[in-house]
Amino acid sequence: MLSTAPSTHGVMTQLPTAMAPEYLLEIVNVTKSFPGVVALSDVQLRVRPGTVLALMGENGAGKSTLMKIIAGIHQPDTGELRLRGQAVSFETPLAALQAGIAMIHQELNLMPFMSIAENIWLGREPLNAMRMVDHRRMHRQTRELFERLRIDLDPEAPVGSLSIAGRQMVEIAKAVSYDSDVLIMDEPTSAITDKEVAHLFSIIADLKAAGKGIIYITHKMDEVFAIADEVAVFRDGAYIGLQSADSMDGDGLISMMVGRELTQLFPERRAPRDQVVLSVRDLGLEGVFQGVSFDLRAGEVLGIAGLMGAGRTNVAETLFGVTPASQGEIRIDGEPVNMNDPCLAIRKGLALLTEDRKDTGIFACLSVQENMEVTVLPNFASRGFVQRQRLRELCEEMRRKLRVKTPSLEQCIANLSGGNQQKALLARWLMTQPRVLILDEPTRGIDVGAKAEIYKLIAELAAEGMAVIMISSELPEVLGMSDRVMVMHEGAVTGILERDEATQERVMQLASATPSVH
């Protein structure tokens, strides 16, 4: 499985031959294995000062492991790290930081009850003559940092009061505050809006100008084209190849990543049927969203677009009875339903794949099978005892159908890649044989190959008559999959667009509630 064979797509597989201390950081033949897994196999990477090196690859390709080695969280089994030509080894994250390598992690690591300034200077608080924390100086330093980065936040505000996007900006500011030579960003834009992305890119431009080297992990092709000087591609724990900015080509990158040609990302869709399955009128949740109305037909995919915090997830949770509505009506097959409990929602044929896999999706310490079967246990229990054989067969069948890559159903789900975890969770819901499938960011943080599989599955399910609601922040996905697109802005529906009138521009206008230019 460890494919180190050269890619067949005519891209450069050799590293540039130019040598000497022109590299800030070099990774030479690093191999790392964990019990049961070879995570990285003989990997190399080089970062030049004043450039952005993008890192792409499917989930499980080894990018995050490599970054954790660079940041001192893991130690390589073999191979070495060179910083400005000098071999180094980091036993702890602190050692890496002190050597000038900072990392913005994919998961936010902030303390919600502490202030922004306290979070940023945690562990290196400025002290006064009495060896006490000098809060005034800490706040001043934070203000200066924010000024430099053009971030408009109050250093004394608690982090818990910030939006996810705000927290991400704090995390970015914190990483910059170390004034490191090498800055690793692990999918920094997965939770922020276009406005903050533009802001981040301007910060990156400043850092480049200051001669810093940036390693930027992302799944998003447009970001790579926007900021990267070079792109390195990883697959199955191996370094596949490099493209530089002047000769970058999206299709080539994708096929390097998946190791095969992706014929079409979005599958053909069949026209929805006439029968209305779910009908929502004037649905609202006090202080969160209001006036949501739509009809959902069998076989239809309704996309819900909008910025972070527009209330899309809240609508999904209200439909599913997690947070019962404070006003409005939900009808299923024409029957009004007082949706106040997820159990009821499941009985009525609804399913909800939640936005945050880790927080509300997986049971991290349980097996793949235990994660799948949890929704259907009542159907497979006689006098309380679980019918193990039948459940096992069903889960095995779902695993095959959804192509969940796992050594066995007994494998602890936390050991699977994001895409495979997501497929297992999808299996969990498909086993309930729902009629309305609500997907909240179904492809967040998963790789292109798994994305294509999930799109294909959604199309198949819709063709069989399942009604699908798909919440997504990725516009191409919403536009590529939906029959209609409902756009939300600050808790209100700003428009429902038919497939042929839904363009990126129209959706963005409605999502940001900017008046139309026409």
Binding site: P35, L366, S417
Partner: protein, 340 residues
């Protein structure tokens, strides 16, 4: 990374080791401790520690009561909760049960009109009191969202108070033979093992068990998966209460008396047994077999130290160290299992 897993020989190895019960290591620890005492026994006292059936029987008898509590608390801990009240609930149940188990030969019975009752009456009363206490714990936790630590801390103090108030501190004695039979001979051990088997099966093979692990693994995901989390928590705490009640019955029958001071700080031994047995305080992980072995380890240590004549204070010091070491080892093991 999963793609790489399929062909790697290491993957088969990890699969194989997964099939080995996690309790094996803790069982080895138990055997090891036993052998150490055996060795010290020959060196220091010139006699065998293990080849003494009387001592072993006594030890297992002592383990039974704490073991019953530990089975309940294990399930609570799996849901990420904690039960500090089990020792006090034991005492309250023992008092109530004993008060209904007195013989009429005794002039100063608590309820002179209620003497010479068939044994099932006090037994049911004791179990019922425990169930009720657990129901209160669970309902408060589910309905108000107050942390289990606080709710069961309150119950721990109140139940102990109630146990003392019940007879104003007087012990209850002169219990009927049919009642004390429950605590004589090997009965406590049989009850303990039967209960352990029941909940071992319940946790592994029933919907109840699957839901318990799911709630402990991720409460929010469990709710969205259609599990009635609140109802299930009430059930789990009620079961823990019921088992504390049963432990109270067994303890009072064995001692042939009900005393308000019974089971003092047993809740901590029960938690220790669960934790030594591999139950994770972070929830979602734990097994009854592990807890049973954990309880046996505590029992072997107490018995062994007494056998060697080690000072009681020093026994406690060593016990504390063992508990912490068990948790450290457990965390190390979990980290290896979950992290890639």
């Amino acid at each position: 990374m999963s793609a790489i897993l399929e062909k790697s020989p290491l993957a088969n190895l990890s699969l194989w080791s997964r099939r080995l019960p996690a309790e094996l290591s803790i069982l080895l620890v138990l055997i090891g401790i036993g052998l150490v005492f055996e060795l010290f026994g020959w060196v220091m006292r010139d006699q065998s520690f293990l080849m003494n059936s009387q001592r072993l029987v006594l030890m297992i008898l002592q383990v039974s009561v704490i073991g019953l509590l530990a089975i309940g608390v294990t399930q609570v801990i799996i849901t990420t909760g904690i039960d500090l009240s089990s020792g006090s609930v034991l005492a309250l149940s023992a008092m109530v049960a004993a008060s209904l188990a007195q013989t009429s030969e005794f002039g100063r019975a608590v309820f002179p009109a209620l003497t010479d009752l068939p044994a099932w009456v006090p037994v049911m009363a004791g179990i019922g009191v425990g169930l009720l206490a657990g129901l209160v714990n669970g309902s408060l936790i589910a309905a108000t969202g107050i942390p289990p630590f606080i709710v069961t801390l309150g119950m721990m103090v109140s139940a102990r108070g109630l146990a003392r108030y019940y007879t104003e501190g007087q012990p209850i004695s002169m219990l009927s033979d049919s009642y004390t039979a429950i605590g004589s001979g090997a009965m406590p051990v049989i009850i303990f093992l039967v209960v352990a088997a029941i909940f071992h099966i319940a946790l592994r093979y029933t919907k109840y068990g699957k839901y318990t692990y799911a709630i402990g693994g991720n409460m929010q995901a469990a709710r969205i998966s259609g599990i009635n989390v609140k109802r299930h928590l009430i059930i789990v705490y009620s079961i823990a209460g019921l088992l504390a009640g049963l432990a109270g019955v067994v303890a009072s029958a064995r001692a042939a008396t009900g005393q308000a001071g019974m089971g003092l700080s047993y809740e901590l031994d029960a938690i220790a047994a669960a934790v030594i047995g591999g139950t994770s305080l972070a929830g979602g992980m734990g097994r009854i077999t592990g807890t049973v072995i954990g309880a046996l380890i505590l029992g072997v240590m107490a018995s062994g130290f007494t056998f060697l004549g080690v000072d009681a204070y020093i026994q406690d010091i060593i016990k504390g160290v063992i508990i912490v070491v068990a948790v450290v080892v457990d965390q190390y093991r979990n980290k290896r299992k979950v992290k890639r």
